[in-house]
Symmetry: C2
Subunit: 440 residues, 2 copies
């Protein structure tokens, strides 16, 4: 889905005015999150790949202009829109990196009309993808690498687009599979799935359903055992496993009740029957807290399916993101409204060991021993690297692993985390004061 009308009307209003006035000087906008939700100690940057795709193809179609004419945009505006492409530069934090409040996830420098027009698109994609990636990362922390994580959210994400993104960003933070088939195809993820209760009910007995499934889908037999009575279901599964001599990747899935207790009882029954190889998969309304509880209790769970609460980031479904003008025509600008104050100027994030960050100006040289997080990803409207959905996900995953390993404990906590705040460099402080004086 793309198209230049996927925007807020005010972007078109402002752009029309700029274009008419030939205000073509470069503007820099900075996209960042003002405050983290209280239950977030960090964010995982995501959405940049889709943004670059959209920017690279940005243009108005004839039918868009016809519609805009009906809204009262005049010929001069329509003509200017007709020829408009995104010709700017973009610097961005790479997907998969861990970031904090106030840190620019992306900065656009372009003729002001262009930079303004893409605000809604960029905010939308980066806000919701970063929201979902950050939630998924908390599930990853909760699992302590002791359970396999499978993304199961598609049926209740806020649309298909959100479902595809949820699968992708979950993989980025270490999920091993997704139920979402289209996402699996697109991003070369491992698709995973078992059966629904309806399948069991479509047969006259549970055991008949298990037998049919195992015969028809060899090599992917995870039996859903809780349709009638969970432990009886486990017995039925064992019967079919033995009858058909199933060996490879056999499992049972528990989807209701006290999952920790049932997992323990199920494990005992399976082991007693001589089936230590049968895996236990649990699902049903899970989130990072219930995953953590399962792991802490030492429940014998091999894999968890995490669905809705991850898929919509249920406890914090949005971020307080902003896209703010920080420089126009060489003049640094800032806003000083209460609670919404911004720092002027194009920025850079200087990161030292242990994710200790400083927010500096883009023109500063990096302090010794620091890495600069924002990198040029688009120059004069052209992507610096070609689009490659599979490779970009793999590298994002690697970056996430590295940052996660360095993330301090207070930020990792699932309850009441403390998010690091970047210090600002002396140059940012000086420039902010200068702009504040000038605005007085």
């Amino acid at each position: 889905m793309a198209g230049a009308l996927l925007t807020d009307l005010y972007e078109l209003n402002m752009a029309a005015s700029y274009l008419r006035r030939e205000m073509t000087a470069p503007a820099t906008f900075s996209l960042f999150v003002r405050r983290l939700p209280s239950e977030r100690g960090f964010l995982v940057a995501a959405g940049m790949e889709d943004c670059l795709e959209i920017l690279a193809g940005y243009s108005f179609e004839e039918s868009d202009l016809v519609y805009l004419a009906t809204l009262g945009f005049d010929d001069a505006a329509l003509e200017a829109f007709a020829g408009l492409r995104f010709s700017g530069d973009v610097r961005a934090v790479a997907e998969g990196r861990i970031v904090f409040a106030d840190e620019p996830l992306l900065e656009v420098t372009a003729p002001i009309a262009e930079a303004q027009l893409v605000e809604t698109i960029l905010l939308n994609q980066i806000t919701f993808q970063t929201t979902l990636a950050s939630k998924a990362a908390r599930c990853r922390l909760a699992g302590r690498d002791q359970v396999e994580l499978v993304e199961f959210g598609f049926r209740r994400t806020q649309g298909f687009e959100a479902g595809l993104a949820a699968a992708r960003v979950s993989a980025m933070v270490g999920f091993s599979a997704t139920s979402n088939v289209e996402a699996a195809r697109r991003y070369r993820l491992a698709p995973a799935g078992t059966m629904a209760h309806s399948y069991i009910e479509a047969f006259v007995t549970e055991i008949a359903a298990f037998r049919a499934f195992a015969e028809d889908l060899p090599g992917r037999t995870t039996f859903l055992v809780d349709t009638y009575d969970t432990l009886e279901g486990v017995d039925h599964a064992i019967e079919v496993i033995e009858e058909l001599g199933l060996h490879e990747s056999v499992g049972v899935r528990l989807d209701s009740g006290d999952l920790a207790a049932l997992a323990r009882a199920t494990r005992r029954v399976l082991d007693d029957a001589g089936h230590p190889e049968v895996r236990i998969f649990v699902s049903g309304g899970l989130d990072e807290h219930s995953i953590a509880a399962l792991v802490e209790q030492g429940a014998p769970v091999d894999a968890v399916g995490v669905g809705t609460r991850l898929g919509v980031s249920a406890d914090a479904p949005f971020l307080d993101s902003a896209y703010k003008l920080v420089s126009y025509d060489g003049r640094p600008v800032a806003k000083f409204s209460e609670g919404k104050a911004t720092y002027p100027g194009a920025k850079q994030i200087f990161r030292a060991h242990g994710l200790v960050d400083q927010l500096g100006l883009a023109e500063e040289s990096a302090p010794e021993g620091t890495e600069s997080l924002l990198e040029v990803v688009m120059a004069k409207g052209q992507r610096v690297r070609p689009s490659d959905p599979v490779l970009s996900l793999a590298t994002a995953r690697t970056r996430f692993e590295a940052d996660l390993g360095a993330l301090p404990e207070p930020a990792r906590r699932l309850r009441d985390p403390t998010a690091p705040k970047p210090a600002i460099t002396a140059a940012v402080a000086r420039l902010t004061e200068e702009v504040r004086q000038r605005e007085r």
Copy 2:
């Protein structure tokens, strides 16, 4: 966005098994919400139009089958998928109707493989659109028809698709405009938009920005007055209004601070300057509770922009929806698991005056004085009425108004609402007991 791979893998697993076994008997699945979120006294049905579009075009493409082969689906399965279309019947509650827990929003009757395959698609669309429509309806209640409501969520919805749906369902419950230009085009809504703080900052002074905007976009001049100092901003707006002799639809927008107090101060300044015609528009992190507070305080606000919290239904971003098999091959079925029990058989909702509902069987005749809410919308895979996005929205809006007028007070409350629960008819009770006995 469509495509048969927009699904969970398990749907394909089950369908492949059914098709191989020639289990083609009709199954009925019922889509309903098990429990309402605690802060919801009612739901507004939405998403059905998109579901019907998807069902009418449902098919596997060659490239889908190529991918499924790589997952291990065998030739028999692929061949069966290749020719598959949705050939079933669909009964649904009309969009815009107010509904409650346990009430089917949609029922599908089709050969079991087809009915199963579309589960993920139907759940996804109806869950998230009903979620957003219900949130928007609460904003409508909060406004008490004393303020105009404008949907502003696009920049932080969970994707573009969600943004389009948010605009549409907001219009369905009485919003008068949206900032989303593509949604406005697609559903013929009124697009609305003013300017951003960046526009003000791109000019050397606030008044220069106001003057430029008013000159360039006559007839849509709402001045954003809070970039520097709100009441000074109002003075600047008045200066430009008088200088340029602006008359029609002029307004000021307040986007930060104590909106009620600022609105009162702004109204006073405007009135004292002889400009009672200038409207006051407020925005900034609003939801139903802050709208209600503004209205209760009698703040002189003409219109509110409602953004993110509506656009993601921030306090309740999903619904506990389910798609359950209720009948297969003439045999009613049900699940009795704890907390997830379902009633067997195809259903009907019989509604009496005041939204007093009974959940009955589809085969029952409607009790006197009741209306039957589920209507046939698709027969043998064909839509009963042709698709018409504009007309369908207009009729949904009318239906919502009627139901809203009849909604009892406890369900309308914004805090701690009490949602009506439908009674079940004697026939449902009897069938449930029969099935329970049989399953023992």
